[in-house]
């Protein structure tokens, strides 16, 4: 099994996709010789000189352009340098990519992937550290994935490129240097993964917060509490079936995420759990949402660090909430 960093896994998925299909292109600012702001595409331009395309600072323009090309049958992958700049592509993504198939009654589809490096912990301030997935969650016609490890990143990106719908690919910047084995896996967009099968509690998470969730489960295990861990992998469509199954097994559900609560992935997960009668009836306690602070990301180091949940704090909250501890 090949070991790779998350960054290398994305690069490999891009390379394999471009190798396989000339209509797969990577478009974005400084993705060529510079190798991308986070060095994800480093070296790809040498291997695929025609398929790696540097653009001017025109996010709305080149995203719209990629959508038009996708409607003609190309499979563009867009890199938005920082996910925060999603504001600039909201119109082409929401008004066009997401509605292409519906508004043309199936005459056109929009097989495009938007890569969005997101997340705090880098000291880049409030406009370079956001995790904007919640802002897209309500939009019909989009798919959204947020892998938490190199293998999922590789496999989900390969799937995203082949998908005939627009897929937002959220890659957390703090995951880039994490390492893991790449396993060839038939992971479907829209399916969650169950990582462990403890009996006491179901912890649900995704992306970077998954690391916090795993660490939290370790801390709980030391206190004799065993967790089932669900990695959502896909945020849209959400795998409600797996969620229900895994929550019903333990009767306790906690969601850990880096973003604030309001209108977020976690609040959606909790709403699903609470509104499914069979699952609700099995719950021993109200579900719990452990999430980021409701504020722009502060620059000051400790404030930034504390703006997202950590394992110690999460374990404490879980013990208090579920176990009267």
């Amino acid at each position: 099994m090949t070991q790779m960093t998350y960054r290398q896994a994305i690069r490999q998925a891009l390379a394999d996709s471009m190798e396989e299909d000339k209509n797969v292109i990577l478009i974005g600012e400084d993705v060529g010789v510079y190798g991308g702001c986070f060095k994800v595409s480093e070296g790809l331009i040498k291997q695929f000189p025609d398929q790696v395309i540097d653009t001017p600072v025109s996010e709305e323009g080149f995203t719209g352009m990629a959508i038009g090309a996708a409607m003609m049958g190309m499979r563009p992958v867009i890199e938005i340098m920082y996910a925060d700049f999603f504001t600039l592509i909201f119109d082409p993504i929401v008004n066009h990519a997401a509605k292409t198939h519906f508004l043309s009654a199936g005459q056109f589809s929009c097989p495009i992937v938007i890569r969005l490096p997101e997340g705090s912990g880098t000291g880049h301030g409030a406009q370079h550290t956001q995790s904007p997935e919640a802002l897209f969650l309500n939009e019909s016609g989009l798919k959204m994935v947020a892998p938490s490890n190199p293998s999922d990143a590789y496999n989900l990106l390969r799937k995203a490129v082949k998908d005939n719908n627009p897929v937002l690919f959220f890659e957390h910047k703090l995951l880039y240097d994490t390492t893991g084995p790449i396993t060839p896996e038939n992971i479907e967009i829209g399916r969650a993964k169950v990582l462990s099968h403890g009996e006491d509690l179901t912890i649900i998470s995704y992306s970077h917060a998954m690391l916090t969730a795993l660490e939290t489960a370790d801390l709980l295990s030391k206190r004799g509490i065993e967790s089932t861990i669900v990695d959502l992998c896909s945020l849209k469509p959400l795998d409600s079936r797996t969620l229900f199954e895994q929550v019903r097994r333990t009767g306790r559900a906690v969601m850990i995420q880096d973003t604030a609560a309001t209108g977020s992935v976690g609040s959606e997960v909790l709403a699903l759990i609470a509104s499914d009668k069979k699952t609700f009836d099995i719950l021993k306690d109200p579900p719990l949402l452990i999430c980021g602070k409701n504020s722009p990301t502060p620059f000051s180091k400790d404030l930034e660090k504390n703006s997202v949940p950590n394992a110690a704090e999460s374990a404490e909250k879980i013990l208090t909430h579920f176990f009267n501890n």
């Binding site: 709305e60 352009m65 038009g68 190309m74 009654a105």
Partner: protein
């Protein structure tokens, strides 16, 4: 840029051009009537008065070319070859519509006729058209992609970004500006910092040209010129045609921002009337022949509208609509 005369005086060509203009005009008139009768709901943006622009462009295009029209899309759609029946059906919300009734007046994509469909967000179709051209160049496909927009959309960053992208990559895009003097109520003279939208071309190292958009021959010639420039690989072109929508912006517009004198002046420059007179005066078609063409177009539009109305009972089910949210 001076135009060499390329006017086509062939009788069947002129009949074809006149037919497109009539179809467009009668489609809009019928649409307005159906709205007044309460048979169509929602809104619509009529393009009466802009027929020379629509027909002039579409007569110059081939079936390898693509258009991305504006929210005021009926005329371009019909001139590109879509059937009036599917268009009326779309307006009735029936499953026989171009978008099976999911789109409405502003969404009439027709793949078969090289029409990507409009963006109902002013100016947002322009990058999409640029993308069609990107695919053409990247995959060595023949054709030109036409980004149609109005003077109002010329204020959008999406246009400026697209013109820059098309210019640096020499993409086969025709930026086609229908300047009808008003963006909703806003006069273009008050909203645009240069005398002509086509003046913007220079900033992007592109060729640009402004012509009379109510004279069919002028529009057709200018389009041929611009298209051959693009087909020769010389990069994108910005063509601005000056025209006037004789109706309001949409069906709720009371037109308080313009004068009766101005409307009367433009009525005297009605593109269909100008073309009819020219054809008759030059002896290409007789007045009787013109009347015959007119009557047959009118009859056809009436027929398509009533057939579409009859069939409008056919609707997508909720499940069929939901199944179209995602591509398989």
């Amino acid at each position: 840029m001076f135009l060499e005369s390329n006017v086509n005086k062939d009788k069947s060509f002129c009949t074809g051009a006149l037919t497109l203009m009539y179809n467009s005009r009668f489609f809009e008139e019928k649409t307005e009537e159906l709205f007044k009768q309460g048979l169509i709901h929602g809104t619509t943006h009529l393009a009466n008065g802009q027929e020379a622009s629509q027909a002039g462009l579409c007569m110059a295009l081939t079936d390898k070319d693509w258009i991305v029209p504006t929210h005021r899309c009926h005329g371009f759609t019909i001139c590109r070859g879509s059937s009036a029946y599917s268009m009326f059906s779309e307006m009735f919300g029936s499953s026989h519509g171009l978008a099976k009734g999911l789109g409405g007046s502003m969404h009439m994509p027709d793949r078969e006729h090289g029409n990507l469909g409009s963006s109902a967000v002013v100016g947002s179709g322009i990058p999409l058209a640029t993308g069609i051209a990107f695919d053409m160049k990247y995959n060595g496909k023949e054709g030109v992609s036409v980004a149609i927009f109005g003077d109002g959309a010329s204020g959008r960053g999406s246009l400026h970004e697209s013109m820059n992208l098309a210019s640096i990559w020499k993409l086969p895009v025709l930026f086609y500006c229908e300047n009808n003097l008003y963006g909703m109520s806003a006069p273009s003279s008050a909203m645009i910092s240069v005398p002509h939208v086509a003046d913007r071309a220079a900033a992007y190292n592109m060729s640009g040209l402004t012509v009379d958009g109510n004279d069919f021959d002028t529009v057709y010639e200018a389009c041929l010129k611009a298209l051959s420039h693009i087909r020769e690989g010389k990069g994108p072109f910005l063509l601005e045609v000056m025209t006037y929508r004789t109706k309001g912006h949409s069906k709720s517009d009371r037109r308080l921002y313009r004068t009766a004198e101005e409307e009367a002046y433009w009525a005297s420059r009605d593109p269909i009337m100008l073309y009819e007179n020219k054809l008759a005066n030059e002896g290409i078609l007789t007045r009787d022949e013109i009347s015959e063409i007119r009557e047959s177009c009118l009859e056809n539009i009436e027929k398509q509208a009533s057939r579409a109305l009859e069939d409008s009972i056919d609707r997508l089910t909720e499940q069929e609509a939901l199944d179209l949210v995602y591509a398989p």
